[in-house]
Symmetry: C2
Subunit: 334 residues, 2 copies
């Protein structure tokens, strides 16, 4: 009955099944590398709404409903929704969930929120508390930019180490029974803060948290890195990704052949996203699109999704605090 | 094995035990009604920190460590910490947890966060995923006021319907085994938004969410309102509390004899808190102090704690959105 493993991990007796996923993205993502894997591409960043925040909320509502539709379920079949986003007080999530009308648990792990929600949702199902849950996250370049950095109208130049927040939403429907990849294990992250203070350099700040969670995952479960066909982190971007590879290399582990970062998979080089993509929707749209379809086709059979979150706020930055980071991992196997 | 009841509730096979609680409050709370039930009362709202946010973070760290100490445990005995606060990106929580160093799940339900965390934490324990967890919330009058309303230096007059955010933190340590009151059932709330837009009147905005969760709790579990010695809502204040009583009365149910709101129990009339107390720490310090001790003394044997959250943000208010609200309930029995 004890499903805990080691210090930070759990294994599931009856691994919950991901029976459907759905996603929706903005126009820039729709011109990116993974265009064919999105369910819907918006024509602009407002989509007829009065403001970007409403558009972000709309995307989340759409993704949740689409995942439910693909599962041949109705909204009433969903026991609980676990969701979150980057905006203050999870604004997009709350307005989306107001329209969904199902029991709801608000989660916050910044860009690790999808992995966190899948982890907690899986414990609800394997623990016997739910039959079907939906997890969902969203982010929007324009809402994030004006909240975290500068008014977009100001046209501030972005440093090359910065990443571009993904406009999109991804929903993952997890069931007790059914067909699809299964969530077999998960690792809960600790807060890791190496003292970095530059909110433009979130990838390198988050990389040590990803490494910490990965080490504990391997240690707790007894799985080796090569147990997985691929390991995906959420949004470390090119700088953070290389740091993860380097940190493992220093410990004698070669991750270079089966590790990728979702933030490096979304935008093309010429789209000028600098160090890559970021935001809750980075792992959100990559898992629900490309990765999930590779699992269904059995081109990938065992993957580890490591959501990575930079937990700073504009206030903490102004108060000269460093950036606390976290990473949560879910093992998904076909 | 199916622990779900009705639409929104769960029951626990092996009800998790609250083996310790701890709390810490600011000076105004320390002069209030429940002064004797607090573990520590700060002399001022900064407590030697550079800013109020650091003080809030300190309170959370202190409460978590105190609850662990009272449980005769060490920090390493804690499998997971589930916590949250009102600040953007859960700032107080993340800096507190950076110093705790245990696996952490960030939760956001505004002032319903303690009940939400106790609920999710109990599923982790009853589901076999954890042996000991700590849930914790904090709020701070000065950090909340300047984030949600006006710079405190401005001295803006508060309307009589407004509530006073509690400065404090409360931690609840939940174990698989041990002595203490047990969490026997819980109800996950839905978002309820009746169209109210005044962020000074959160009590009346949240009252319908509390009523919705209460109805579902009674319906799902088959328990009648008089099953409980007392039902406590989190922070509806005097206006919201009377609205709950009135809404039940209209349905032929008299709650007036076994229902109270934590927001009406903290400050004395002459402390000028207007409609009462609010904030995550409202239910946080009242449960961990007064209520928990009444349970231990068996002066109360069965209580229902209903955390109530107003999920608006300053951005949603500026964009003329109404206030989405939620309530989560946990049944605690000695």
């Amino acid at each position: 009955m004890n499903k805990k493993r080691g210090q930070q991990s759990v294994v599931f007796d009856s691994p919950p099944v991901i029976t459907s996923t759905a996603n929706i993205v903005g126009p820039m993502e729709g011109e990116g590398i993974l265009a064919e894997f999105y369910d819907r591409i918006l024509l602009d960043n407002l989509n007829g709404n009065d403001n970007w925040e409403q558009c972000e909320s709309y995307m989340m509502e759409w993704a949740i409903k689409k995942a439910i539709e693909k599962d041949n379920s109705t909204v009433d079949d969903i026991d609980y929704v676990l969701a979150g986003d980057l905006l203050n007080q999870l604004m997009s999530t709350h307005f989306a969930l107001r329209n969904i009308g199902r029991p709801f648990l608000g989660m916050y792990g910044a860009c690790s929120t999808l992995a966190e929600s899948m982890l907690v949702g899986s414990t609800l199902i394997d623990g016997g508390f739910a039959n079907k849950i939906v997890t969902c996250v969203s982010s929007h370049h324009d809402t994030a930019e004006r909240q975290y950095r500068f008014p977009t109208e100001l046209g501030v130049q972005r440093p090359m180490i910065s990443q571009w927040t993904v406009t999109g939403s991804g929903a993952v429907l997890v069931s007790a029974n059914g067909t699809g990849p299964r969530i077999t294990a998960a690792t809960v992250g600790k807060i890791v803060d190496i003292g970095m203070k530059d909110p433009n350099a979130m990838g390198p700040a988050m990389a040590p948290a990803a490494v910490d969670t990965l080490w504990h995952h391997f240690d707790d479960t007894g799985r080796q890195p090569n147990y997985y066909d691929m390991i995906f982190t959420g949004d470390l971007g090119s700088v953070g990704k290389n740091l993860v590879i380097q940190l493992f290399k220093e410990q004698g582990v070669d991750l270079s052949t089966n590790y990728e970062d979702c933030g490096c998979m979304i935008f093309k080089e010429e789209q000028d996203a600098h160090a890559g993509a970021s935001g809750c929707a980075s792992s959100g749209v990559v898992y629900t699109g490309y990765i999930h379809k590779q699992l269904l086709k059995q081109k990938l059979r065992k993957i580890l999704l490591v959501g990575t979150g930079s937990l700073h706020s504009t206030t903490s930055y102004q108060q000269k605090e460093s950036i606390p980071c976290i990473a949560h991992a879910v093992a998904i196997e076909m």
